[in-house]
């Protein structure tokens, strides 16, 4: 298996094109969730390191060539970056498996190539940032310019260390911003590897900086920094609120927040039952349930409810938990002890709230943070397991009667990130698609992510979009220019 030969080459901060120790000299441990053992000691960025990184990014933005070169030149460099990522897919996938318990073969053959594709998408977008010429009602000539917003802080989570790095950094770089990434303290290693590849690709010093560290120190310093023009954050709603507060209290920097969810998967009586079971299982157990848009509320129409549960239980038994380097395994360990204990405590809570535990419900293995795929049925809307984000492999199944009820209960959440709708009826599809107050609706599919598909939430799931051309809007400022016209033959 790939783990024994994976050497950790980069564990320092990456600032202004160089790997450096933190100013304090402090380090922190990053752990292998399969064993709880230390993989590497990583330089711990603090406020003063963030200051240095911001200074480098500021200089690169204010005086460097990156924002001043044509978009096509940036695109060329990003294409090189994408090719380097693809060439190193094996090594990067192994790092994410070691650091975050992610499935190695999925990473190597699907996720990392998809990340290269994502970088290529924005490489191709770099020369397609269009302003507009405007129709004024008086004798004026006016137009808009979309200019790079400046220095961007990107604070990314541990559940998809590589994908989150790519979807934040690629559009920011494509438009000409400079970036400071703070990866999660649980999974800092792949971001440092990407920094190394970015330098090889020719991204100039200072344009991309990576400062591993903790939220309350490095993250807070970035969010409240007066020289940072934008913070894009993916993580919990609770931390999102802090980021927004920090912006308000500092320089009103613009922000994009991609936060939590409690996304419904709504299965109607006319659904293909096997497909429904397959999708519902994928929607909650994929990536150990550590997915912001996990389909964590499964609403099933009463006509197929019992049969759905029966099949779902059978299918969950086939879902293999184990070492993520094993190609036959479906689910690796949870990210760390804190999350592991949190998920187990939600399972206990579900039981005590009166939901019926029909499958799983326990930790598994003799070491590491493994949890069985768990299914609760007879879950009620007011239970905490139906309202709060568990972020683990815990499915909550609920019964509904009518489409109106499904809409109302589907929307009955502080979150609005995504939804799945499973039915063959076109009217049901259209009514559900327009009625659900969520950022993405997947019809007869789930996790249909794509570089061109904007992603982001309604309500307390956040604001702004990742991916697609929409995410470009988060990294530009629009400037309008107007000038009077004399003797124009038309307006």
């Amino acid at each position: 298996m790939g783990d024994s030969k994976t050497e950790i080459k980069f564990s320092q901060l990456f600032i202004n094109g160089s790997f450096v120790d933190s100013l304090s000299g402090n380090t922190f441990e990053t752990l292998d969730p399969r064993t709880g053992e230390v993989i590497a000691l990583v330089a711990e960025g603090g406020k003063e390191d963030i200051d240095l990184a911001v200074k480098a990014a500021r200089e690169a933005f204010d005086h460097g060539k990156w924002p001043r070169m044509p978009g096509s030149e940036r695109g060329k460099i990003l294409m090189k970056f994408a090719s380097l990522i693809e060439e190193h897919a094996d090594e990067i996938a192994a790092i994410d498996t070691l650091d975050a318990g992610k499935l190695f073969y999925f990473g190597k053959f699907a996720q990392i190539p998809a990340i290269a594709g994502n970088v290529r998408y924005y490489a191709g977008a770099a020369d397609k940032i269009h302003g507009e010429t405007l129709k004024m009602s008086r004798e004026f000539q006016a137009y808009t310019l979309k200019e790079p917003i400046g220095v961007v802080g990107a604070i990314i989570p541990w559940n998809f260390p590589s994908m989150m790095f790519s979807i934040k950094v690629s559009p920011a770089l494509a438009v000409g911003c400079t970036v400071i990434v703070k990866p999660a303290e649980q999974s800092p290693l792949s971001a440092l590897y990407y920094a190394h590849l970015a330098k090889l690709a020719g991204i100039p010093d200072g344009v991309l900086n990576v400062v591993p560290g903790f939220g309350p120190t490095a993250g807070a310093a970035l969010a409240s920094h007066m020289d940072v023009d934008k913070v894009t954050f993916t993580g919990s709603t609770e931390v999102g609120r802090k980021i927004m507060e920090a912006s308000a209290k500092s320089n009103l920097k613009s922000i994009t927040l991609e936060l939590g969810g409690k996304s419904p998967v709504i299965i109607f009586d006319d659904a293909d039952l096997d497909m429904a079971v397959e999708l519902a299982r994928l929607a909650i157990f994929f990536n150990k349930g550590e997915v912001c848009i996990a389909g964590s509320r499964v609403l099933v129409q009463e006509g197929i409810y019992d049969e759905f549960i029966k099949k779902c239980i059978e299918k969950s038994k086939e879902w293999k938990v184990g070492d993520p380097f094993d190609p036959t395994v479906n689910q690796g360990p949870q990210i760390d002890k804190t999350q592991y204990e949190k998920v187990l405590s939600y399972i206990e809570l579900g039981k005590s709230e009166g939901a019926k535990l029909v499958s799983g419900g326990k930790a598994c293995g003799d070491k590491g943070y493994y949890i069985e795929p768990t299914i609760f049925t007879d879950v009620k809307d007011d239970m905490r397991i139906a309202q709060e984000e568990i972020f683990g492999p815990v499915m909550s199944v609920m019964k509904f009667k009518t489409i109106d009820e499904a809409i109302e209960r589907g929307n009955c959440s502080i979150y609005g990130l995504g939804a799945g709708v499973i039915t063959k009826n076109i009217d049901t599809v259209n009514q559900m698609s327009r009625s659900l107050r969520v950022g993405v609706v997947w019809v007869n599919c789930y996790f249909a992510f794509d570089p061109d598909l904007p992603f982001g939430g309604y309500k307390m799931s956040g604001f702004g979009k990742d991916q697609g051309m929409d995410s470009i809007e988060g990294f530009v400022k629009k400037k309008t220019v107007a000038t009077p016209l004399y003797n124009s033959p038309w307006l």
Partner: protein, 534 residues
């Protein structure tokens, strides 16, 4: 088939323009026009390039033409034959269209993801970049343009254009539009199908890139007819595209003549779209053939008589250099050449004097020689046509300031020529000369120059030279042309749409607008039951 041209690239803003065009630094033994005619009498430089491909390319295979006929393609430096090329006619067009049809209707291309198509177009760009120099040699050999221009500007711009279009396939967005009633409306943009593309000889490979880029990005398949004067580079590059992963049948190339192969393509009932760059006279024929056959959609990029307007506040030296470039670039074989130089009366005499001096400094000679600014015209027909236009200029009373005849005694070289005191009604002020002949006209005020500039059946482009923002804005809005260059000329970035008003054509090439030429629009309207909102 006559053709019309253009110059390409953002590389050519002012500084490189001076390096490339002004000839201020010349290696030894390069002769300026006016001082020596010996340059062209030296033996021509023999480029290190082989002609590997001279057949018709159908479904990824090089084939002889159905008739077995060939035609010669000439080196315009020497008037000698470079190669004999398979001559396509109606039967070959039929075969090529059948291959393109099959590739579109049943092949892998149509079912590829946008990302896969994007990867292939990028790989095509990479492979052209790798073979830059030999492609540029072929281009110079077949066309007579300078090797410096081909190798440093045109082929790199081909690469750039391809990369631009490689970025489009996964970003072609239709809209979802509101309905007045309970209806859900999605607008899909779908490939048109088989595109026929007919390209000219003045920028052979660039015209190929402008045409195939958007067609491929949108998922179409192509039958391309190249100009009979310059068939070589397209065959070479199309072969490279296949090496880079382009599936067979997606791009088919038929060399041949307009009245035979070109007409067959334009009137083919299995061709869904035809795009043509060339003369206005031929553009009319193409449009008629489309009308008489299957009403295929037509894009035309045709001739021009573009004004270059030098206002009284202009820096005369800069204006002279830019106006010189606007006209003489590519031997004057540009559809958007600044062929009517309007100069304000207050600086007219100085401008004419300095333009004459600049033309006398222009280095004419073997286009493979470093430092040469101007090679031969494309062929005997064009050469004689240009000399005829010059004669007409003299006869109509314009003042011949410099040039006016053949340069050297072999090859299709023409002296850089300048007429002053040109009047609007003269032939040389109205018709496209497509050669190194600058006509300088005098104007008094801005309203007059607007009116005179627009008094043309063409409307391709215009140059405006002024430091005054109000003058620039007034002219930009008043000129009925597809492109206005203010204090610059021939800026041809991939993202800038290009095309004409009036009889200069229909549709736009390059930029996001070019995608429209290769997409059908389909509206899908679905009845909604109980929608939450409309």
């Amino acid at each position: 088939m006559a053709a019309c041209g253009r110059r390409i690239t953002s590389l050519l803003c002012r500084a490189p323009l001076k390096n490339l065009m002004s000839g201020t630094v010349l290696p030894a033994r390069v002769n300026r026009f006016g001082t020596a005619a010996t340059a062209v009498e030296e033996p021509p430089i023999r480029p290190d390039v082989k002609i590997d491909y001279n057949q018709i390319l159908i479904n990824g295979q090089f084939l002889d033409s159905a008739s077995g006929k060939t035609f010669p393609t000439y080196d315009p430096r020497t008037e000698e034959v470079i190669a004999h090329v398979a001559e396509g006619d109606a039967e070959d067009i039929d075969r090529a269209v059948a291959a393109a049809r099959q590739a579109f209707d049943n092949g892998p291309w149509r079912k590829m993801t946008a990302y896969e198509r994007s990867r292939i177009i990028n790989q095509c760009a990479d492979i052209v970049e790798k073979h830059n120099d030999e492609i540029a040699m072929l281009e110079t050999l077949d066309n007579g343009k300078t090797y410096e221009q081909a190798s440093k500007i045109e082929i790199p711009t081909v690469v750039r254009i391809l990369r631009y279009y490689a970025g489009w396939p996964d970003k072609i967005h239709g809209l979802v539009v509101p309905a007045d009633g309970p209806h859900h409306v999605q607008i899909m943009h779908e490939a048109i199908g088989v595109a026929g593309q007919i390209i000219p000889w003045n920028f052979p490979l660039l015209m190929l890139a402008w045409k195939v880029g958007p067609a491929l990005a949108c998922g179409n398949t192509i039958v391309m007819k190249t100009a009979e004067q310059t068939p070589l580079s397209a065959l070479y590059v199309a072969k490279l595209f296949h090496d880079a992963g382009l599936p067979p049948g997606v791009l088919n190339i038929v060399s041949g003549f307009g009245p035979t192969a070109g007409a067959a393509l334009a009137s083919h009932t299995d061709v869904d779209k035809v795009a043509f760059t060339g003369s206005t006279a031929t553009g009319k024929i193409i449009l008629e053939l489309a009308a008489k056959s299957n009403l295929k959609q037509v894009t035309l990029e045709l001739g021009g008589k573009s004004p270059f307007i030098v206002c009284e506040d202009a820096d005369v030296d800069e204006a002279v250099e830019l106006a010189h470039f606007a006209l003489f670039f590519n031997q004057g074989q540009c559809c958007c050449a600044g062929s009517r130089t309007f100069v304000h009366e207050s600086i007219y005499d100085e401008f004419v004097e300095k333009s004459k001096a600049r033309a006398l400094r222009r280095v004419v000679g073997d286009p493979f020689k470093t430092g040469v600014e101007q090679g031969p015209q494309i062929d005997d027909l064009q050469f004689k046509k240009i000399l005829g236009c010059i004669k007409s200029g003299v006869e109509s009373g314009a003042t011949l300031e410099t040039g006016g005849g053949r340069f050297g005694n072999k090859g299709f070289y023409v002296q850089p020529t300048i007429f002053s005191n040109v009047k609007d009604e003269m032939f040389i002020a109205k018709e496209e000369i497509f050669g190194p002949v600058q006509s300088i006209l005098k104007f008094k005020d801005i309203n007059e120059v607007i009116q005179r500039s627009n008094a043309s059946r063409y409307g391709l482009a215009a140059g405006v030279f002024t430091q005054n923002i109000d003058t620039a804005n007034t002219l930009s809005r008043s000129l009925r042309v597809g492109t206005v260059w203010v204090n610059c000329f021939d800026i041809f970035d991939a993202a800038i749409p290009f095309g004409g008003f009036k009889m200069s054509g229909q549709g736009r090439e390059k930029g996001i607008d070019s995608l429209k030429n290769y997409l059908q629009v389909k509206s899908v309207v679905t009845s909604l039951k109980n929608p939450a909102w409309l």
